[in-house]
Subunit: 640 residues, 3 copies
């Protein structure tokens, strides 16, 4: 696999006169890719049905002539102002019932049929015109689905579509659905919430107290499916005109839609990696960690998403937007330390990325992102990001090609579980994402390379150790596949705690084949009242009380079972703190025949093909297994 670099460019923002020079400088810096077009709808269709492609023809020609390969974006994330006149009800509606107005971006509801028809038209125009263009080497659909909390809409269009979705989910003898099946599935006899007809069903916002969790979970699944359908509309049109691969650029920790399902219709999963912005905004990190890594980013957050989206892309991963300097949108926006742009780039490659594109070529002097650094400053002078990008380009030219290899350890990430936990955290702030991320961090502190898998992966038998914490619902097929995998399994807490309709199953959870353990009851804990473990560390936040005949690996200081094992299966009856989690990973690795390291909190490694990459996110050097890792460094070495 050849590794490449690129950037994001907006020819429509700049005078025609400088396009050639920009293209020349991009190519000169060693960049291969240039993404364009994804916010340009008002320039492509200035009035309804009047198209203006000349400028884009010319931009593609100029960039192509410089040897660059174009990623062409569909502009559907930014419908022009006239669209709102044509479809006043196309705006998404927030949970308070307020339309989310024109004036920024992503101002559409995924369920609006009229808007979807408009999208089909512009995408058809673009695909027909550029589908065979030799310089257009990839497509991007829309931009950052779900960003700014746009997956979920409480609009009239969403309400209508949700009713239709439910009719299909609870099919009846006619085409009209079986409302009794829905009432049973949701347990609507509770609090007299029974419906007489699908048209009685509203969206689950603004209820007096919390809505039925089954209602909300179906709504969340519906909302996710609307994203899938919206994206598929575009991929089907593009494929009719082009055989070039199609990507979408996902965001970090946007979990409101099932990326695996969207990814199934795409060729490449790409994502937008903003390590510093994310650290302030959405990484599960302590304040001490935020302070320590304020200019480097979290040592695991980027890697987690590389591994996750590599699964979403079924092996094909890009970083479509890489932070090149300070951004504009986080609560605090410091500059990265020198060397970090290079480190982030190499880390992406180590985790299997084919390409890393920096956002953006030149800092825009206007509008919302004027404080977002580019590779160039607004005055076209080279910024720090370009210095490091050029260095990476030079290093890539020297580096051997690699093929990505399977890791020995798998970690399952399940969007449905994320929604179920969000709907019913039981304890304030408890989050499935954080539980999985805590596990991921512990695995990497132990030196493991990790593959993230969807819950319906057919590759479970390829791993020696599979961690799958917090899977609220486990279909029987998953239970069976895990048991059959032969891997050491790390399950719990909350495994199989709900059926497919968010009800507690009987027999009680986890009801795992081969494990004599039942969760008698559960409790959530105040952050200041963790439960101490006999071997050190604590259970914090969430805990299950087990009835079990299995081998007990960990107990509380009061002797209650916390971690139990039977055969290949290890069940963890609570949320472990880092001390206890470390011990758990070492025990599980040992049972799986995997050696562990004890890495410094700033140090990580990743195996890729014949090489092992070492990363030091810290500002001091660290010695690891006989080698010294300089501060803020990436080190590549041949694997043992």
């Amino acid at each position: 696999m050849k590794r490449t670099l690129g950037t994001c460019y907006y020819p429509e923002h700049w005078p025609r006169a400088i396009w050639e020079d920009d293209a020349r400088r991009m190519a000169g810096a060693g960049l291969t890719w240039v993404r364009i077009g994804e916010f340009a709808w008002s320039r492509l269709e200035p009035e309804p049905g009047r198209y203006a492609f000349d400028w884009l023809d010319e931009a593609i020609a100029v960039l192509g002539a410089a040897g660059l390969r174009v990623v062409l974006g569909t502009p559907t994330a930014t419908p022009p102002r006239w669209m709102i006149d044509r479809h006043p009800d196309m705006l998404a509606v927030d949970s308070d019932g307020r339309p989310r107005k024109f004036g920024s971006r992503r101002h559409y509801c995924f369920s609006h049929e009229g808007y979807k028809a408009e999208c089909a038209k512009i995408v058809t125009q673009l695909a027909a015109r550029y589908g065979q263009n030799p310089h257009v080497a990839a497509w991007q659909t829309d931009n950052e689905y779900g960003c700014h909390d746009t997956t979920i809409s409480y609009s009239d269009a969403a309400r209508r579509a949700f009713r239709g979705w439910l009719r299909a989910r609870y099919p009846g003898p006619s085409n009209d659905g079986d409302i009794r099946a829905l009432n049973d599935a949701w347990g609507n006899v509770f609090w007299s919430m029974e419906y007489g007809d699908f048209d009685d069903i509203d969206l689950p916002n603004l209820t007096v107290t919390e809505p039925n969790p089954s209602h909300v979970l179906d709504f969340r699944r519906f909302a996710s499916d609307q994203v899938v359908a919206f994206n598929r509309l575009q991929t089907e049109i593009i494929r009719a005109h082009s055989s070039t691969p199609i990507a979408h650029n996902y965001m970090g920790r946007v979990t409101d839609f099932d990326h695996y399902k969207v990814g199934a219709d795409l060729d490449i999963a790409s994502w937008d990696s903003y390590p510093l912005g994310f650290l302030e905004d959405r990484v599960p990190a302590t304040v001490a960690q935020q302070r320590l890594y304020a200019r480097q980013g979290d040592p695991d957050f980027q890697a987690f998403h590389h591994d996750l989206y590599r699964a979403v892309g079924r092996g094909r991963l890009w970083v479509m937007e890489q932070q090149p300097g300070p951004v504009n949108w986080a609560p605090y926006n410091p500059a990265p330390l020198p060397g970090m742009v290079r480190l982030w780039s190499w880390e992406a490659f180590a985790h299997g990325a084919e390409a890393v594109c920096y956002f953006r070529w030149r800092q825009a002097p206007m509008a919302q992102e004027q404080m977002h650094a580019g590779l160039l400053r607004p005055d076209s002078v080279e910024a720090q990001g370009l210095v490091e990008a050029r260095q990476v380009a030079a290093e890539l030219a020297e580096a051997p090609e690699v093929s990505h290899t399977r890791a020995p350890v798998a970690l399952i990430f399940d969007y449905d579980a994320e929604w179920a936990w969000a709907i019913q955290p039981h304890g304030a702030g408890l989050s499935y994402f954080e539980l999985v991320f805590d596990t991921y961090r512990a695995l990497r502190r132990a030196g493991h390379s990790v593959d993230i898998l969807p819950p319906d992966s057919d590759a479970l038998s390829e791993y020696k150790l599979i961690a799958a914490p917090g899977l609220m619902h486990m279909p029987e097929a998953l239970k069976t596949a895990l048991a059959a995998s032969g891997a050491v399994l790390l399950l719990g807490p909350r495994s199989a705690a709900r059926d497919g309709s968010m009800r507690i199953p009987v027999p009680l959870p986890p009801a795992l084949p081969g494990l004599d353990a039942t969760v008698s009851h559960v409790e959530s804990l105040r952050p200041d009242t963790p439960v101490a473990l006999e071997s050190g560390g604590t259970i914090r936040s969430y805990r299950e009380i087990l009835e079990t005949d299995a081998e007990v690996l960990e107990t509380t200081t009061e002797g209650e079972a916390v971690v139990v094992a039977q055969g290949h299966l290890i069940y963890v009856a609570g949320w472990l703190d880092p001390d206890a989690m470390r011990r758990l990973i070492h025990v599980a690795s040992d049972r799986a025949g995997l050696a562990c390291l004890d890495l410094h909190e700033s140090v990580r490694c990743r195996d890729a093909g014949a090489h092992r990459f070492w990363f030091n996110y810290g500002t001091e050097a660290h010695d690891v297994e006989g080698r010294t890792l300089p501060p803020l460094s990436v080190t590549r070495e041949a694997r043992d």
Copy 2:
């Protein structure tokens, strides 16, 4: 008085086939009562006017046949979905102007006449059918009035009703009210807020800055009266068909309506006691206390409500829902320590409860409360709550009957004062409830049994010591009755600080007969700037500066009078911290001829008939007056 136990059961949630077994197990565990029906409207009236009572007939028969006595609830807290089609404007409206939609419970506005007519119909049906049923031994109206902040609604129906209520409060020569009387009472000349007609008057939400406090206080009184009227509609219907006692199940620290007024139409005051949920959610406790009692609940919060609702029930008190294990709705939901369910049960009896019913029989596997423990687990296995309930049942069988006796100390709780403080706390977060609760806690730390009284109690002369802090408005009759009681009186701060229309009276407050003291001015204090007292402790949060010729019992370190006394009257010119409050209670008790204890913060006692009960909420044993109280224990002994 015979003390009994019970539980809450939802036959409509379970297969018909297990009803007999459930009933048998209830009776076998020593339970007497089973409450049913209060959320079942969609099963009782599946379509408008079509009733389905067969299943309920059968459920009552099955339960009755097992020897259980049924408490039958009216289902008006959960109108079915079809009701919204018939009365789209029946939903309450929140302070932001948004309708509070169908999809959970309590989705109605107390002022909607159409909905009230529907309630009258279903209650008539139930009362007529079951009014003479031999197994129906009590009624419950609706469920938890005011829960989820549902007393106050800003709907059109509420606006119309408020105008009518005001016309009646400010009567004019015709039936149409005297708008000038209202303008005078509210002081509407201020800021040109004068009204020309009652129909000009809006609800006091969404004003530019704070609305007129007189306007808000009348609105709060109106909202409370709407609850009273809503409840009375049901009691009048039930009484026409049944001579069985009627109860309502109040919540903890819901103070938006006047429980005394609702209680006047009922035979029994019952309440729903969730010690752990309340501690996280609404007890005035420090974080240290929340941590210390996370699995036991606050040592005073349950007792306070027992004493309050015993007054509301004019002596007849039940716990209709007793927490039996972890609940689902608090920020954190730990499991109670073993023994606490028993302790809570006995504490209720010690404070005069006739019955304690556990919520609920079996944990529901579906819908909003699926994480709420029951006496049985979802798989029908016995949970810890049932173990302790059975123990209590056995102990009750051995225990002598008691008749509740009057306590020597009274504490007045006034809902109108609670609203006045909420409208005008003067200092951020100041709350009448917390002031009264602080006083209650100090009285109990001093070993006193306490009766809580309404401000219009006719029993004032039965007490040796009466505490009545924070009574913002004191009608002349109350001032007179207190003076005539002969008791030592603990008044202040803010006593009689407003007239009945929320204006400052002249002569200035407190203007108490027999007390030479005038509040010259008041101030609220930052939490970090308390005022030190000469004898130790501080005034915190709220303070009055007195002009006085009375005896000065406490001064600030600067010599300003803080506590003054004259005759039987002690006036406290500020919010005392626990140190100063302890001293105050000891001095007042001494003047009243009452001996004091100095109980550990985890230990409380309560006299009931010939017995004294000791409670230890702590996890360590404590020695009190020569006896040792084991951890988490209740101890009954004969009174001296």
Copy 3:
């Protein structure tokens, strides 16, 4: 200049029978002024078009007969209830889209033409009737423009008016504006935000993510201009009937409209000074400072506003409302320490006030401000405020007259910069006001008297030192005028960082003539990650990285330039902490030939004419330059 005292009085609140006595007591206490009328619309026009001036005639006559001079307010801040029936859409609308209802005050949108016509009518009536009244010696328009966040409205009226304002700002060949000019100015090509017509433009609320900052800045300028126009409507009417000076009473730290522009239509700038309320509510102070000065107020906040509003009033300054005791509206409302009312009064005079009027004469026993102290208690007994007012009156009688003199140091405050920072703080919580206030505090700790100037001041050459931090946009004329002033200039950070349309200019900022320094990039910092300076202290919150050939005065510990100087110009590339700011002020003063003091944090001084005033806000005495300042004192002495 003669210094005078006054008070605010509401004859409509009190029985006619006590007016004479009130007037007599006012005059007897040494008061000159009495402000009346400003909330009395419902009494002046009880029904549309029916006027009732008799009572006001009489009140003015009574007050005038006692020798008092009347300030007559227009009542437009409190339109009566009937006004809403005539103009239901006159209410302002909040950013969530909710009308801000009747029931308090300031319930109008500045853009509503119908309401403005009503205002014109009542002001015409008043001006015609009282314009030549011998007792009416000044006018006040409306009351506290912008208070309760009322400058900005998202109403339909505002939307219409904003479109018209934009047409005028971006003029086209016809009268209809040039939408392409607007699109260019705002950079609307970004995210396809281009408009086809001015009628496409909405107000910038409720967008999916942040709106275009250029859009918001124009909206903020528009909203400010609407206040100016609203006020001018009244001044033009009054001037047609009266030659008496006109004032408006501004609030503390209300910055949503450009006070200089409003002030240009007025004769006097007055403001409402509530030191204790402001300290809890809006002073940029640490918690430690809030605690230390809870009963005195911040030592710089009042002075800052005196100096700011003296500029707004082009030399003529009043305090129209002076806090006389505890207020009602802050989170905590302690009583001032004895002596503070006197100190505040004298401080106003030292900063050039002509008059100080206490709010209010007698505490109102009703409505929203019933907890707001007056000079009299509700029972007409003298309160502490009147004791001190009488003392000030006596001292004034003894004091020499003064003429205000120019200070040697100027500080520029620019409302446009305040809006630009608010729109784009880049780091959470960063505020232009706070940056200027930090600078002001440091200047005063150094013993300087300060004049605050508007950015278009024509007096720049009168100063030895001019500080102008944070001027986001600097028109070329300002750059030129500053360079030509001859003063030592303290600029930065963010100087000239944006053009007039909120775009980053190229060449990059600050592009100051005579300064070889370019901001390469900027960053905002977490509060817990300040950057240490080589000479001590830190940069906190906001920082610029410079490319510079200028003299470097301060560097980080890593050697990066932080403060640079060239000629008279000093540029500060970041937000300095107090330590570093102190050093900066001393260096700059030294270069300007100004001696510095190092005052205690509680001590300040101010030169006024031939005198120097010393103020001690602390509760302990302090020695300064050989003299002892008693606690809570003001000391006047002849200047050296």
